[in-house]
């Protein structure tokens, strides 16, 4: 696994050193997503903006419930409606406005241009269909190839995601595969149509630690081999360093900080990000990432604000150790504090 990683690093450098290759592939702007009715609802996503460049891996980090999954589902056009309402904002992909595409047009984007894998590998595969069929069907739907051709390519994909005995696996059913294997199958399926963007919504959260590391290795490996952009969603800032180029931190439906990974680690601006960084488990601790987040947040008293209430000021203010009067009254917007490093916080201005 060492070799392709090196190749990957080299590739990224080439891309980074050649600015003409950098183009924005996906641009999300001012996205508001509600659940409920127009009168009574929760605001799950509140004014979220970000972009993903070609070949880049962007991580979205935040506690569970902060709106990461909803954000990624909206890119796929998979927000269940009702009760979901996309109230405002735009999602631009390759010159297309995804929020206003016709159903049939959007279907051609899903799984083809933008693919997604989910947090729950145990339940994300259909229990009564073979692995082979579930891997082939996206290619048959989008690439207009025969079942036989699709099967041949599916076997190639199983090899790509390092599943031993791919021919045998094709005939098997999901319950015959371990969680890690199933997530590999999901990844292989998602990559089968060579999407421009792969959205990975907490792909390792449901897996045990050693398998998590293997899946991360695999994703890094794939990054190196294909130049797919990745939107990597996680609640664990510790994982981010291993895979992402850039990070976006979310809190209670809002984005609060965005920077290159090394910059964010060395120079966090938002007090919430500071808290998250403190929560990264060290190797000598037997704490799962989620527990340690909770531990660290204990040092930040207060609770996540109810999303039923309209929040006037900064949503983190009630538990922020630095909060002043202004924080409870005026909402801070995302501003560039250091070049390439944006945060939604009043503190740098004091």
């Amino acid at each position: 696994m060492g070799k392709p990683e090196k190749k990957g690093r080299a590739l990224t450098t080439v891309v980074a050193s050649n600015p003409t290759n950098i183009e924005t592939l996906l641009r999300v702007e001012n996205l508001d997503i509600l659940f409920g009715t127009a009168k009574q609802h929760v605001v799950a996503v509140d004014g979220v903006s970000f972009k993903i460049n070609t070949g880049e891996t962007l991580a979205i980090v935040g506690e569970s419930g902060c709106g990461k999954t909803v954000t990624s589902l909206s890119i796929m056009g998979l927000i269940p409606c009702p009760p979901g309402i996309i109230d405002n904002g735009s999602i631009q992909f390759n010159g297309k406005d995804l929020l206003h595409l016709k159903m049939e047009e959007m279907r051609k984007v899903r799984g083809n241009d933008i693919a997604m894998i989910f947090q729950e590998p145990m339940t994300s595969l259909n229990p009564v269909l073979t692995v082979g069929l579930q891997m082939s069907e996206a290619m048959m739907a989008h690439k207009g190839i025969s079942r036989k051709e699709a099967r041949k390519r599916a076997i190639e994909m199983l090899k790509l995601v390092q599943i031993p005995e791919p021919e045998k696996r094709m005939e098997q059913y999901p319950h015959q595969l371990s969680g890690g294997m199933r997530q590999r199958v999901m990844i292989g399926t998602a990559l089968s149509c060579e999407p421009k963007i792969l959205i990975a919504d907490e792909p390792t959260t449901a897996l045990d630690v050693t398998v998590q590391a293997q899946i991360l290795d695999l994703m890094n490996d794939i990054k190196a081999k294909l130049d797919t952009s990745i939107l990597f969603i996680t609640h664990d800032l510790g994982v981010v360093a291993e895979i992402a180029d850039r990070v976006l931190v979310m809190y209670a439906g809002r984005t609060i900080e965005e920077a290159l990974v090394t910059e964010l680690y060395e120079n966090p601006i938002h007090p919430y990000t500071e808290g998250l960084l403190r929560a990264i488990p060290r190797l000598d601790q037997y704490l799962s990432a989620d527990n340690s987040v909770k531990e660290a947040l204990k040092q930040m008293p207060g609770i996540v604000p109810s999303i039923y209430k309209k929040i006037e000021g900064c949503s983190f203010a009630p538990r922020c150790p630095y909060a002043r009067k202004q924080c409870g009254q005026e909402r801070p917007v995302m501003k560039e504090v250091v070049p390439g490093h944006r945060a939604a916080c009043w503190k740098p201005e004091w």
Partner: protein, 308 residues
């Protein structure tokens, strides 16, 4: 899988033997002397020789512990005794009514499947919308509607007033109304079951995965949703089928359909113990057979069962 199937057939046979034992002991539930009870008011007209003949036919002249072996040996020879009145052999009599019951059950089942399954699925897909409410209201009506009332209404409307179908008989024309009556009632139950199964499946993660692949809605539904729903739906269909096979006493009565149900009722009224025993045995055999076949179907539908 094969050993599982063999084990399944073995338990099925065991079940039948237990059922046969229970049936053979049925006669001891009759208070007083069974033969006297069977004769009822007419006992004074029957010669003592005839009474003795019936006693030995029922094995009552043998000790209790020989009762069941005697009964079982006869059954295995295809001899389920004779009726008391008419002295007819029981098994051929039951078998002569069986085809009619089977025809009505299969026809009713076809109606139930064709109506119940699609409507249940459609309601699930339209969950919470107007069509769903209408369909489920219809299903609730279907479940709570008395069988005889529906049967009579159909009979009055289509046979007596419109004259489309004959009032009684056993041809195809006279099959339509009874099959429709039992089919509609079973369809209501099947539709509710199909709906709740499908509602649950449509919320599954794997349906979201299928949509995320950009599959057409037709493939998402037909391949990813319908197939996993079949285990539950087929189970309910089989349940309805066993209900129909019992002979649908009320429907057979309303439409003068000459099946097992009517025979069973008259056997009960006339205290024809041999006939009742035979009926229970035949019905048990059908039920047990269906459950074995059903297990095979389950294994075909769900790989988790197949590869256990």
């Amino acid at each position: 899988m094969l050993t599982y199937f063999i084990r399944r057939v073995f338990t099925a046979i065991l079940t039948l033997i237990i059922a046969a034992f229970a049936v053979s002991m049925l006669i001891y539930l009759v208070p007083g002397d069974p033969v006297d009870a069977m004769m009822g008011d007419s006992s004074s007209f029957v010669s003592p020789e005839r009474v003795e003949e019936i006693r030995s036919q029922l094995g009552l002249d043998k000790p209790v512990y020989l009762q069941f072996p005697f009964f079982m040996a006869n059954v295995l020879r295809g001899d389920m005794g004779r009726t008391i009145f008419g002295n007819e052999p029981v098994l051929p009599l039951l078998l002569s009514k069986l085809p009619n019951t089977l025809i009505l059950a299969f026809a009713g089942l076809a109606v139930a499947i064709l109506i119940g399954v699609p409507l249940g699925y459609i309601a699930a897909y339209q969950k919470g919308k107007f069509l769903d409410s209408i369909l489920m209201l219809g299903a609730t009506l279907g479940i709570s509607m008395p069988v005889f009332w529906l049967g009579l209404m159909l009979l009055v409307l289509f046979s007596m007033m419109l004259g489309i179908f004959p009032v009684a008989g056993s041809g195809f024309g006279s099959l339509v109304l009874p099959a429709f009556t039992s089919g509609v009632i079973a369809a209501a139950t099947i539709a509710r079951m199909a709906r709740s199964t499908m509602v649950e499946i449509l919320q599954e993660d794997y349906i979201r995965s299928a949509r995320a692949k950009g599959l057409s809605e037709r493939i998402v539904l037909m391949r990813h949703a319908v197939k996993p729903s079949l285990v539950g739906v087929v189970g309910m269909i089989a349940h309805m089928f066993t209900w129909m096979l019992g002979g649908q006493i009320i429907i057979e009565n309303v439409f003068a359909w000459d099946g097992l149900g009517q025979l069973a009722v008259s056997a009960l009224l006339n205290r024809e113990y041999n006939l009742i025993q035979g009926y229970i045995l035949i019905y048990s055999t059908m039920v047990v057979t269906i459950s074995v076949v059903l297990d095979l179907i389950y294994a075909g539908l769900d790989p988790r069962i197949r590869y256990e």
